[in-house]
């Protein structure tokens, strides 16, 4: 005879309960020093106990086969290093201290937490320490935390949830523990890779610029650009960011050498170059007083022969003996035209382009367009990259688009300067893409400014030649992503360029 069940337990009316769960370490929070072994080395350094780092790893290895916690590890360590209780406790405190100093939030994941999220970890640290780490990462809600050394890796945790009729929607960084084992038991699991080094960060680390890699990673983890597609992230992390950093370092070197007092960054394309410059400037004592200003400009404005625009430029160029005009890409033709119109000797101004167009035919064409002769007659321009060896200008511009319209002229009012701009060049999905990357870049350079150190800066300067070479070689591996960018933004970009060309001086 079949059993009659109450309706709440009847299989046909049983509902699935879904829990949003998250791993903690390298999912919600990460270590600045990246690897736990670096924590142990730091403890060794602070405690002065030689051999601590190796012994600490061995002590954990000895207990790994069973459920274990922090105390279990240190019991083993006490034997390995012949420590007394006081020494062991002191070391435990130092290790916790180093962990707390190293914590950095993974903001993109932290922002996904809801009131009801459950945290599941295999970490050996005591619960109060884990809560403190989370609090330092801005996770202050009292989320329930489940701890088990091998619950996820052995599948027990997931099996338990499945047996209780609970399906987890889980986020974690370990492919086996957090994803494969979870899915095996019917959980929905997502692999989180944010804390992994990007290709650029990995290259820096491999080349010995370990502090620089850590700084960039820490800055990246603390910025959230919701809905930024993976292809866009890959291009920003591995193409645009190295491009902006290396160009900025080169520019800084010129600024120092030529004792430049004021740097004017061209509006729109130069926006993020300015951000990078300001983020790095504080690390070089020679450059701390250098003024980095946003300059309302465009090829159209520079070549328009507008009296008000020229007056604005004279105002921007005055007040400092040596000035630099900086733009992202170009030939230098419109900059030369402007200096000619202002009757300024080009020797007194540094013209800098992050990437110069090496197509002589095109440069000649633009020089002729502006009545300057040929490209041989243009003012000398300093540059870091050129289109002959690196990716084309349009793609670099697209990676740096900001949601601002092109400046046509500037009105100097009694209350200040008012740029006269076109509408923003993009709309719809293209505008969304531009907004996302702009938001990410702005946030990143803000974070980088607080994370950067003199040590990291020195490393970046030292590896810059390698980075430049790596960029040229590595861009080939991103050809698919660059093509997506070209298709996403390039079509309207080309239309805008064709439209703008009609407004340039004939």
């Amino acid at each position: 005879m079949s059993r009659i069940l109450p309706i709440s337990q009847h299989p046909s009316t049983k509902t699935r309960r879904v829990l949003h769960t998250f791993d903690i370490f390298d999912t919600l929070i990460a270590r600045r020093c990246i690897d736990a072994k670096e924590v142990f080395h730091e403890v060794e350094r602070r405690s002065g106990i030689e051999g601590f780092a190796l012994a600490r790893q061995e002590a954990e290895r000895l207990v790994y086969h069973r459920e274990y916690d922090f105390t279990d590890i240190y019991l083993g360590l006490t034997d390995l290093l012949s420590l007394n209780d006081e020494q062991a406790e002191a070391l435990m405190h130092i290790e916790v201290e180093v962990e707390l100093e190293n914590v950095v939030p993974i903001v993109a994941m932290r922002d996904k937490l809801s009131q009801e999220s459950l945290l599941i970890t295999d970490m050996y640290l005591p619960l109060p320490v884990i809560r403190e780490l989370l609090a330092r990462a801005g996770i202050t809600r009292d989320h329930p935390i489940l701890i088990s050394s091998h619950g996820k890796s052995g599948g027990l945790t997931w099996r338990y949830f499945a047996d209780q009729g609970i399906q987890c929607l889980h986020h974690g960084d370990n492919e086996r523990s957090d994803v494969l084992n979870a899915r095996q038991e019917g959980m929905r699991a997502r692999l989180v890779r944010n804390s992994n080094l990007t290709e650029f960060e990995a290259m820096l680390s491999h080349r010995g610029a370990v502090n620089a890699a850590r700084v960039l990673r820490a800055a990246r983890l603390q910025v959230n650009a919701p809905d930024m597609a993976e292809w866009q992230q890959r291009l920003q992390f591995n193409v645009n960011l190295p491009f902006l950093l290396i160009s900025t370092l080169d520019l800084m070197s010129e600024v120092r050498e030529q004792r430049i007092e004021k740097v004017l960054f061209a509006s729109r394309d130069g926006r993020h170059l300015q951000s990078a410059f300001i983020a790095l400037r504080d690390q070089l004592p020679d450059l701390v007083g250098v003024d980095a200003q946003y300059w309302y400009t465009s090829r159209v404005a520079r070549t328009s022969d507008s009296i008000s625009y020229e007056a604005y430029c004279r105002q921007m160029l005055s007040g400092s003996e040596r000035v630099a005009l900086v733009d992202l890409c170009g030939t230098g033709a419109s900059l030369t035209k402007l200096l000619n119109n202002l009757s300024i000797d080009s020797a007194s101004v540094l013209l800098y382009l992050a990437q110069k167009v090496s197509d002589k035919g095109y440069s000649d064409h633009m020089a002729t367009r502006y009545g300057l002769g040929t490209s041989d007659d243009l003012s000398p321009v300093r540059y870091t990259f050129d289109t002959g060896s690196y990716i084309n200008n349009s793609l670099l511009e697209q990676l740096n688009y900001v949601p601002e319209g092109m400046v046509r002229d500037v009105m100097v009012t009694p209350f200040g300067t008012l740029p006269l701009r076109d509408d923003v060049d993009f709309d719809g999905p293209a505008l969304d893409l531009v907004n996302r990357q702009n938001q990410w870049l702005t946030g990143f350079f803000d974070q980088m400014r607080s994370e950067m150190s003199q040590e990291a800066m020195a490393e970046l300067i030292q590896v810059a030649p390698f980075v430049r070479e790596w960029m040229i070689l590595h861009s080939h591996q991103l050809s698919r992503e660059l093509e997506v960018l070209r298709v996403s933004l390039g079509i309207d970009d080309l239309s805008n360029e064709n439209f703008t060309q009609r407004d340039l001086v004939r």
Partner: protein, 318 residues
């Protein structure tokens, strides 16, 4: 040591097999050692996994030339994989750079037999302010090397290997100087007052692939009498115009494209013993068609004398 998912066969001596693998002498011979390790023939993808493990195992104890050769062969074994792209990047950045890197290198393709001519061309170029190098073939070496001012390449030193010589020479230039323009120059070229290396560097960077347009017709017997081994007539389809061989320019992107394809897919030029045509075809495929720039405008003067090998040293094809 396990060799990936396979275990060594019973009775096998790993050290002896490793020694045989390192000794080569060819990629194919090394592959056969790997097959012997696992007891059967496996795919090149699977073999590349074992190759990586073996390389990691012994990389610290072998010399850099052997290491580079093994890395290069690994790239050829699995060119479509991410590891190949990463290894290629490392390989291109591994060699130390000279203190001064020129914008353009004039690469004089020659052979041991005509080294004196090549040296004269090099001296002339250097007197005109150009940075020049001579490349010759020396098949016994593992990797390209500059010795006493001559760049020796691990390819045959014969006429029929000229395509390999140019591609291997570009690879050496890329490894030595980084991203750079290269002008390929024959060892019987002369130069006149039009020659200006800076202007040629600008042109190479701007145009990427420039030279005297050639190739409307194909003399499929051009090479007869010039090769050291008997060769059939040129049997490949004509694919378009290319730069006439005595002198042409390649910008950084062109050099990069050619080197990348050569290192990853050397078979693409099999049978392409007309070097100028081969280069033109590879670049056209890479979206870099020829831009016209006559040799005379570059400041070059071509010697039209054909060089034949002595009849006694060749045999007719039956």
């Amino acid at each position: 040591m396990s060799v990936g998912p396979w275990a060594l066969q019973d009775g096998q001596d790993f050290s002896e097999l490793l020694e045989r693998w390192l000794d080569g002498p060819t990629l194919e011979a090394r592959l056969r050692v790997i097959f012997a390790m696992v007891g059967r023939k496996i795919s090149s993808d699977d073999a590349s996994v074992i190759w990586q493990k073996l390389l990691k195992h012994c990389n610290q104890s072998i010399d850099t030339d052997l290491s580079e050769q093994l890395i290069r062969q690994l790239i050829m074994l699995s060119p479509e994989y991410q590891i190949a792209a990463n290894l290629y990047t490392s390989m291109m950045m591994a060699r130390p750079r000279p203190p001064q890197v020129p914008r353009i290198v004039f690469m004089i393709t020659s052979c041991f037999r005509y080294l004196d001519k090549a040296r004269a061309v090099k001296a002339d170029l250097e007197a005109r302010g150009a940075h020049a190098c001579i490349v010759v073939g020396e098949p016994s070496i593992r990797v390209s090397k500059e010795v006493d001012g001559i760049v020796r390449l691990p390819v045959p030193d014969s006429y029929e290997a000229l395509t390999l010589k140019v591609l291997e020479g570009l690879t050496w230039a890329r490894q030595t100087y980084g991203s750079i323009s290269v002008a390929k120059v024959d060892d019987d070229m002369r130069f006149n007052g039009n020659f200006n290396p800076e202007r040629l560097a600008d042109a190479a960077s701007s145009l990427q692939y420039a030279g005297q347009p050639w190739g409307g017709m194909c003399d499929r017997a051009w090479h007869l009498g010039k090769t050291s081994t008997p060769m059939p007539i040129y049997g490949r389809r004509l694919r378009g115009i290319f730069a006439y061989g005595p002198m042409y320019l390649m910008g950084p992107k062109a050099v990069d494209h050619l080197v990348r394809n050569w290192v990853m897919y050397p078979g693409e030029v099999e049978g392409s013993f007309y070097e100028d045509r081969a280069i033109g075809e590879l670049l056209a495929e890479g979206g870099m068609p020829l831009k016209a720039y006559p040799i005379a405008m570059m400041g070059g003067v071509v010697d039209q004398t054909e060089r034949f090998v002595p009849a006694s040293t060749t045999k007719e094809i039956p």
